[in-house]
Amino acid sequence: MAVREQAPSLRELLEQRRILVCCGSGGVGKTTTAAVLAMEAARAGRRAVVVTIDPAKRLADALGLEGLTGTPSRIEGAWPGELWAMMLDTKSTFDDLVVANASSPEQGERILQNRFYRNISGALSGTQEYMAMEKLYELHQRSDFDVVVVDTPPTRNALDFIDAPRRLSHFLDHRLFRMITSPGRGIAKAVNVAAQAFLRTVAKVVGAEVIDDAVAFFQAFEGMEEGFRDRAEAVLHLLSDDDTAFVLVASPRRDTIDEARYFAEKLADADITVRALVVNRMHPRFDRGLAEATRERARTFEGTDLGGLYRNLADFQLVASREDEHLAGLAEAVAPAPVVRVPFLSSDVHDLDGLSEVATFINQRL
């Protein structure tokens, strides 16, 4: 068997990389992990900013994010570097992108006022993911931060945030609407007529004003697709860059491990390497004993306190060994990335002390 190259530890990653992307399914502690990584980078003397999506209220309070929009705010603490945090504001990020790409202030204004456009931020799948990546790109381009840590939205499709930039530019480039909005000649005109008839039928179902808004939007957007497409390419390029490290976050439950594996495979398909795996909420292992043997002892002393004590131990031996089994396959799939195990904590993380407690686990290696 070939000797594996020594991969950088999570600590080395947060001390050296310029972008850390925390990804994984919902409810596995991504936001907390992102906050911990940014805080540790600040402790290592770096200027760090963490972009969170939807932090639980008490964590948001701890980070001073209450009532903030898309501007980074500084969190004071005893570290040589700087720690900044911000919440992603999908709509204003999108607005900025439109204004930056518009050929004139009038074009930008016309788009921002369009009802269809106003729905995009809330309704078009992948918009939030795209804007998280857009914000990441923007912060990376600025020189005020050494490292940007981004928390990705909990998506149905784990990879929305990689596909999102491309999907949105594809959407904005929609053939059907281009046929309607461009003045037709010859064959194009014939197609145009067919498209119009199609839209009339759709309008019968959903109402004409809905279609009118959409057509007005695509007309206003004319000429901006290229800027959007270029930007999407740049964002994708940055994600596969050596400056960027993907940190996969999971919990040891079978279903989230399966999702994490699927996620790791898809990242690999997109030429993105998982650089570290953080597994939150691991059950403790009290000894190396086997659940079946302990269960046997529990049966021997059934109905007594000792029997109960054995039964309890057997429960945790079983759950710990199952967690190890589930985790082993995932660890293999992301090897040689380091695996960081964070145990069940006695309470949820909602202040800087809690973040520090989690931080003590990130120096571990498998």
Partner: protein, 302 residues
């Protein structure tokens, strides 16, 4: 939070009570099939467990729903199959869905309503999207009525809203874990759903509670002495540490359950943590037993 496990349990419990249940998955890849020892679900309905037998059990059936397929069905039922293929294939549904947010949700809920109305099952269980998405999902009907004022979509939204707000036809069962953040989220979701959608809330399911085990409060050395057993070196410490962990977590869980009861005046159904980490047919039966026992405990619904 274990939504899918609870949906599977609810279906199993209903079947035990002699009702036929249809579980509908809307997010794919849920593992519901595996819990019943079967393959992943498809759009075509499958039977997960057949009823009958001496106990007169009901069937458990299941299927998935996607907006694209629901749209095709809808257009076919409304004599519009002409445009249906093109609408889906061209990706125009994305454009239309952006123009009228909630249209995908209405397609799904409209299909659910149709299945409910057909009377094919005594109980239709929808494994709905998670917390943040749930509100948008269930609110889609009301939101669409503002955007689309005429036509079939408007009619569809009206009928869906009628179903959702009719407490005799539809109840929302919220699922949570006995932990701080999930409890907070659940309380927020409950109030939003009542205020903004007007749905009737059923009991809350608290999932993953550690069962109490006899003897965890006892001193291992004394417990061993009481039955003349000999412990190996260090064994007393291991037993004590494991017992302490369970007691600590049980205390934390009890605290969260009490807090939930205080903040949300809804009945609670409490389900145990399954230590195997995998739910199969055997675990599901155990959970269904507990579910039915918990339902017995609830006051009679008037």
């Amino acid at each position: 939070m274990g939504k899918t496990v609870v949906s599977a349990t609810l279906a199993r419990a209903a079947a035990r009570a002699g009702l036929s249940a249809l579980v509908i998955e809307v997010e794919g890849k849920s593992g519901l099939g595996a819990m019943y020892g079967q393959a992943s679900l498809e759009y075509e309905e499958v039977t997960l467990s057949a009823g009958g037998g001496p106990g007169g059990e009901g069937d458990v059936r299941a299927r998935t729903l996607t907006p694209d397929e629901a749209l095709l069905d809808y257009l076919r039922d409304h004599g519009l199959s002409r445009i249906s293929k093109r609408l889906v294939a061209s990706g125009a549904l994305d454009v239309v869905a952006t123009a009228a947010p909630g249209i995908k949700d209405i397609l799904i809920l409209g299909k659910v309503k149709q299945l409910e109305r057909s009377g094919e099952a005594d109980l239709v269980i929808l494994d709905a999207p998670a917390a943040g998405h749930a509100i948008t999902f269930l609110q889609a009907a009301r939101a669409l009525l503002d955007t689309v004022r005429v036509g079939p979509i408007n009619a569809q939204a009206k009928e869906v809203l009628e179903m959702l707000t009719d407490h005799a036809r539809c109840r929302v069962v919220l699922v949570t874990l006995p932990e701080e953040t999930p409890v907070n989220e659940l309380v927020d979701t409950a109030f939003s759903l009542e205020d903004r959608v007007g749905v009737g809330l059923g009991p809350v399911v608290v999932n993953g509670l550690y069962d109490d085990v006899m003897g965890v409060g006892a001193d291992p050395i004394a417990a061993a002495a009481a039955v003349d057993a000999t412990l190996r070196a260090g064994e007393a410490d291991v037993l004590a540490a494991a017992a302490r962990f369970r007691m600590d977590r049980m205390a934390l869980q009890a605290e969260q359950v009490a807090r939930l009861a205080e903040q949300l005046p809804l009945e609670q159904i409490r389900l145990p943590f399954v230590f195997t980490t995998e739910i199969g047919p055997a675990e599901l039966d155990l959970l269904a037993d507990r579910f039915l026992a918990e339902v017995e405990r609830l006051p009679e619904v008037v």
